[in-house]
Symmetry: C2
Subunit: 205 residues, 2 copies
Amino acid sequence: MVIEQTDTDRGPRDRLLTAAADLVHAYSYRAVGVQAICDRAGVKKGSFYHFFPSKQALILAVLEENWESFTRDVLDPIFGGGAPPNERIAALFEFAFASHTEIKRQTGHVRGCPFGSLAAEASTLEEPLRARLLRVFEDWTAYLRDALSDAQASGALRDGIDVDATAWGLLSCLQGLLLISKTANDTSIIPRVLEEVVAHLWREA
Amino acid sequence: MVIEQTDTDRGPRDRLLTAAADLVHAYSYRAVGVQAICDRAGVKKGSFYHFFPSKQALILAVLEENWESFTRDVLDPIFGGGAPPNERIAALFEFAFASHTEIKRQTGHVRGCPFGSLAAEASTLEEPLRARLLRVFEDWTAYLRDALSDAQASGALRDGIDVDATAWGLLSCLQGLLLISKTANDTSIIPRVLEEVVAHLWREA
């Protein structure tokens, strides 16, 4: 999500969260320092430590907020809307394609998944970030697993599919597509792979 | 790959390459400075710039060497050995599982794919790294595409599969699995997803 935050009516803590989310997504966790986050947020560096004991603590708060808004605005509507399971799963990939294509249009860069990019960068270095990001992936997989379970119950899925492993496979595929899209600075691989890989799960394919 | 390099008989340029490859894989690109690389390599910092104009130039040389050894030691034997196409593709995922499980055993951390982790961290920041890593992914996908083309020619693949998109889908899935394994610090998802996702490509599945 690209958010240019200039609204100084919001409190400094909120402005720090928004600035950090945008800068880390645009660059990387290590590339962005506390000073740059404060500059973007219009908050004095001395005030930073009133709100957060460290950059890591700020980023943990960003993860909470990002995950909450992603579930509320994207996952709950897609997976809770009563569409057939195959359409729910396709809609997630279509959202990824549309939203990351829009970020490229606005910024010139495919930035990749903010959760996935941070996990790749920080998992061996900062244990609290790794643990929080693992919960993100587990909770994300639960949406996919529920859709696959519904499809299995209605007979729409091919026989003999392990829905938990397949849900992890779908999230792996989506994360890999976002990584490759970031590396290519081009999102066009997402709909092409959606057609090929995801379709083969369904009986009617 | 975990390489503890202590052999001072190798030249300083080689020792810098080995030290940088290991440290960046263990931590991240930004987390590792030139001084730390020199310390690990047993090379004076003043000598570093005799061999490489920048850390980025060193890492580009590491990428060349890593890709050359990965193709020679892993991809060429797996994909050039005359095994049936489905066994070639499965062998790549099995290699990933075995090698990353061994890294966890040796170091305590699943470090993820050195190419994928660097791509996630640096693609929006350092254009030469992004461009080189895209070529890595393109060349890697060619091995998968050739195996799928052989399978299509022999009638082993399900009808109507787009082999290029499917090859990218398989690399996406593998990259995502390595990212999730790094985040979980556990590789057990790899063989579970291999069974489920990859098997559905084949006619006999």
